[in-house]
């Protein structure tokens, strides 16, 4: 997030798009509603009538995969009506002319046709957003999990720059990170091309610095991304794969392909707290301690570094992940030992400029938001205060491109995926909590009453859903919150798993798969023929 969670309480307009906030990030959802009580106006653009849509001043029920068209349509209106922040644009941005040229004839009428909403609503949204002194954008996987996800993010950034919303309090573009420590995993160099602090493997100076700090020769070739790793594993090119704390068997698109890939890997190590679907395929399973059994830090979605503290001893013979990794490193001949996570953190601070001023003593007094370059620095509430990080904010206009997999006669419906409040990711934790299972016991597919009617499907009916990649059985949940021709499934469940159906096509830059749109067919489940 460029800004901080609590800044939302003073925003004038909040634009929520591609995020079912009260479900995915419930406490931020509550704060957005508090902001409404403080007088903020809310715009929601989502394929489903999510809870926040009922709080919204304006709700645009867009067709999945049409984000870029909507944002571009809004910007066309803003430019046409002269609502942009000319002073800000002149002082802090570059290449506005490219944007103006790109959007010149992308009228709200054109956008409306693509998005399946009215042109008038696009105009209203544009005016509402542009006229606010402080407007914040909140988005999540609904923007990024598309083959055009990077373009979605860039378009939102254009929109925010156009109205002078970057670098101000209570404004900004605020991606909500899904998992508790995604931010930290990226910050710490859990990326093929980046060492800790987003320092590039490809930069010889960076490599030299780390070689010196770690005392070993490092490989200068950027590595493979997750999807490439899985792909190569499938083709037998990855012989040894070590997976810590993840369950790609459920979370990856096109599950069948993942299963094959993991089975094809000669040697698979899985380190987790439960025997997950992925761990069941492993050659060695290492039992890890849960977050309650160890010390450490998480970095939340607003770059806030917070302490994790040990409440109980590791269960059974399990060990904290950091202990396992250290012992294994030692086994492989790398002699460095750490007495506790505080010592690891000290090493992190010494090689990561954005974490340089953070240490356990300071964290004992309270959390700190990076960047925090030195121990006297208070941390950073919102980014780009003095100037945009790269100098001036660059407009990067992009045109709308349709999703990778259009619907056709065989697969006439659009399937989009997401979360439910009561489960988390692949349910490896929430699935062990009785009350949560009672509240959300199984997979389902949300379907509009008119679509259901045409297919003769009743609420609760068993249905089979198929895509070019596979077929699953689940039950229909008839709901007015989704529009005709669009279906929604939560991705948490192993039985009736949505990701058997999803499209593994990747965004070429971010390499994020297109979970949010694929073409499917749905029909009543026929026990006889399907079991035959």
């Amino acid at each position: 997030m460029t800004n901080s969670i609590n800044e939302v309480l003073n925003s004038d307009v909040i634009f929520v798009t591609g995020s079912n906030t009260t479900v995915g990030h419930p406490v931020i959802g509550a704060k957005i509603r508090q902001a409404k009580q403080n007088g903020a106006r809310i715009i929601v653009a989502e394929p489903r009538r999510i809870d926040l849509a009922f709080d919204a001043d304006l709700f645009l029920q867009i067709t999945p995969g049409t984000n870029v068209a909507l944002y571009n349509g809004m910007m066309n209106v803003i430019i046409a009506e002269g609502l942009e922040n000319t002073e800000y644009i002149a002082a802090r941005t570059e290449k506005i002319e490219d944007l103006v040229a790109c959007l010149a004839d992308f009228t709200p009428e054109k956008a409306a046709e693509i998005c399946g909403v009215s042109a008038e609503d696009i105009r209203k949204a544009a005016r509402l957003y542009a006229k606010a002194a402080k407007a914040a954008i909140f988005y999540s996987m609904g923007v990024t999990q598309h083959t055009t996800g990077t373009e979605g993010v860039m378009t939102l950034s254009n929109l925010a720059l156009l109205c002078g919303n970057i670098g101000i309090e209570s404004g900004g573009i605020n991606p909500l990170r899904g998992q508790n420590n995604v931010q930290g995993a990226c910050d710490m160099g859990g990326l093929p091309g980046d060492l800790p602090g987003y320092q590039k493997v490809a930069n010889p100076q960076v490599l030299e610095k780390f070689e010196k700090a770690w005392g070993v020769k490092l490989n200068d070739k950027p590595g493979l991304t997750l999807c490439e790793i899985v792909h190569n594993a499938g083709h037998g090119d990855i012989k040894f794969l070590y997976i810590m704390g993840e369950n790609p068997m459920i979370s990856d698109p096109d599950l069948h392909h993942v299963e094959e890939a993991l089975k094809n890997t000669e040697f698979l190590v899985v380190q987790d707290i439960f025997l997950t679907e992925t761990a069941q395929l492993a050659d060695v399973v290492l039992p890890a301690a849960s977050f309650a059994e160890k010390d450490g830090t998480f970095s939340n979605t607003e770059r806030r570094v917070q302490r994790v503290r040990k409440a109980i001893e590791p269960i059974g013979k399990s060990k904290a992940d950091w202990v396992i990794l250290m012992e294994l490193m030692n086994k492989l001949g790398y002699a460095k030992t750490y007495a506790n996570p505080a010592e690891i953190f000290a090493e992190i601070s010494s090689v990561t400029p954005s974490y340089a001023g953070i240490n356990y003593d300071r964290l004992e007094q309270g959390s700190i938001q990076w960047p925090c370059p030195n121990v006297d620095h208070p941390g950073t509430m919102y980014l780009h205060k003095a100037a945009i990080a790269r100098g001036k904010g660059l407009f990067r206009p992009t045109e709308y491109k349709p999703s990778n997999e259009p619907t056709d006669a065989e697969y006439p419906f659009i399937l989009t995926t997401g979360r439910v409040l009561y489960h988390y990711h692949t349910r490896s934790m929430t699935g062990k909590v009785e009350g949560l299972n009672n509240l959300s016991p199984e997979s389902f597919i949300e379907i509009n009453p008119l679509t259901a009617d045409k297919l003769g499907l009743k609420d609760g009916a068993k249905v089979s859903v198929s895509s070019r990649r596979g077929e699953i059985v689940t039950s229909a949940r008839v709901s007015r919150n989704i529009k005709e021709g669009v279906l929604f499934m939560p991705f948490h469940f192993a039985e009736g798993a949505a990701n058997v159906l999803t499209n593994p096509a990747l965004d070429p830059i971010s390499k994020i798969p297109e979970y949010k749109v694929c073409a499917v067919n749905i029909e009543a489940f026929d026990e006889v023929s399907d079991y035959a």
């Binding site: 969670i5 609590n6 406490v27 509550a30 899904g178 998992q179 508790n180 420590n181 995993a185 990226c186 710490m188 859990g190 990326l191 770690w214 490989n219 590595g223 493979l224 997750l226 790793i229 190569n232 040894f240 070590y242 810590m244 993840e246 979370s251 698109p253 439960f274 025997l275 761990a279 060695v284 399973v285 039992p287 849960s290 977050f291 309650a292 450490g296 830090t297 806030r304 917070q306 994790v308 409440a311 109980i312 001893e313 269960i315 059974g316 013979k317 399990s318 904290a320 950091w322 294994l328 790398y334 953190f345 309270g366 959390s367 009561y422 934790m429 062990k432 009785e434 949560l436 798969p513």
Partner: protein, 353 residues
């Protein structure tokens, strides 16, 4: 700034502060029950329990300290006989319509009413009379509502409507029969309640209580402050631990991201920690089956395979997937292990998913 005198001590405070803020500044504790300083928003909204009554020179009536604005030159007395007598009456009135089952009540030890009665030496109420008899609502998966123990402090209603903003509950009825209820008094399970438990966390008495698989006394548990391990909001919380080895509950703490709020997963999704299915020992695949092994066996096997794969196919044949679920320190070590131990940059995590 204005100056007020409180129990003879002069204090300077900003204009617009309440009497209770002046007392805090002067280091004087005024007892409270409904008063709740949640992000400064609920403060003084309630003034429903009247336990914080104080005497203000020149005023006929006693004033609730939580919601009476401090005025320049005000002369406040916080523990005169008249004040104490009034507080006792308020407590006895509450107690007159409150089940006195402290022996078995799970809230005992952490109950504001119990503590205040202890402080003021109240054993029983002089005002025996009618008592509410409302049905227990145990329909929610995670908490019980026993409105017979409710002291009408409004904390839960304010929390649900002004902080959680779900607006599942409000007051119904008037006077003696005023009670917290869902619309049409249906079971809370059938209301819009999202089971966040934020109302439970603020209830000062035993009216709203979490269901726990494990019975425990409040003094039997230790608290450890940590950060929720589910989503990216990063709510801070206390884990309640019994016998040093079992997590039996969670309460929100005032973190910078969550300000005392949690969602259902953070508040009630903790049973996985002590779940019997937790992996307790390393496993190695032998003849197609995963069997128990020692750490040394597991480490040796992994080290052997790393070395062999590297020698035979080069470091690019190895890869690691780190996790958005573990700590920064662990992510750091994981990528370090892959880059130094495996000799490749083939490391990524599942955040893209």
């Amino acid at each position: 700034m204005i100056t007020v005198k409180i129990d003879g001590r002069a204090v300077e405070i900003p204009k617009g502060s309440a009497v209770i803020d002046a007392a805090k500044k002067a280091g004087i504790t005024i007892p409270t029950l409904c008063y709740f300083d949640l992000q400064g928003k609920i403060t003084g909204l309630n003034s429903s329990c009247r336990v914080c009554l104080v005497e203000v020179a020149g005023r006929k009536n006693l004033a609730p300290a939580c919601s009476t604005p401090a005025m320049d030159g005000m002369d406040i007395l916080t523990s005169t006989d008249r004040v104490i007598a009034a507080r006792k009456i308020m407590l006895e009135l509450m107690l007159s319509d409150h089940a006195q089952d402290c022996l078995t009540c799970e809230k005992a030890g952490n109950c504001k009413l119990q503590d205040l009665c202890f402080e003021y030496g109240i054993k029983e109420s002089r005002y025996a009379g009618m008592m509410n008899s409302l049905p227990l609502d145990e329909s929610n998966e995670f908490y019980t509502r026993n409105m017979n123990k409710c002291v009408n402090c409004r904390r839960c209603v304010n929390t649900c409507s002004a902080f959680q903003c779900t607006e599942a509950i409000d007051f119904a009825g008037r006077g003696f029969s005023a009670r917290v209820a869902t619309p049409f008094e249906e079971d809370v399970r059938d209301s819009v309640c999202v089971s966040c438990g934020n109302c439970v966390s603020v209830c000062p008495v035993g009216a709203l209580q979490s269901k726990s698989k494990e019975k425990f006394r409040t003094w039997d548990v230790t608290k450890t402050k940590t950060t929720c391990s589910y989503c990216g909001v990063g709510c801070e919380m206390n884990l309640l631990v019994k016998n040093g080895n079992k997590v039996v509950g969670v309460e929100p703490s005032n973190g910078d991201a969550n300000n005392n709020l949690l969602c259902v997963k953070g508040k009630y999704g903790y049973n996985f920690i002590n779940h019997p299915d937790r992996l307790k020992t390393p496993l190695i695949r032998k003849d197609g089956k995963l069997v128990e092994a020692s750490w040394d066996e597991a480490y040796n096997l992994i080290a052997e395979k790393v070395t062999k794969t590297k020698a035979e196919f080069g470091p690019e044949a190895l890869a690691g997937l780190t996790s958005a679920r573990v700590t920064n320190e662990e992510n750091y070590l994981f990528q370090k292990l892959v880059r130094t131990g495996f000799g490749t940059n083939n490391v990524d995590h599942c955040a893209r998913l």
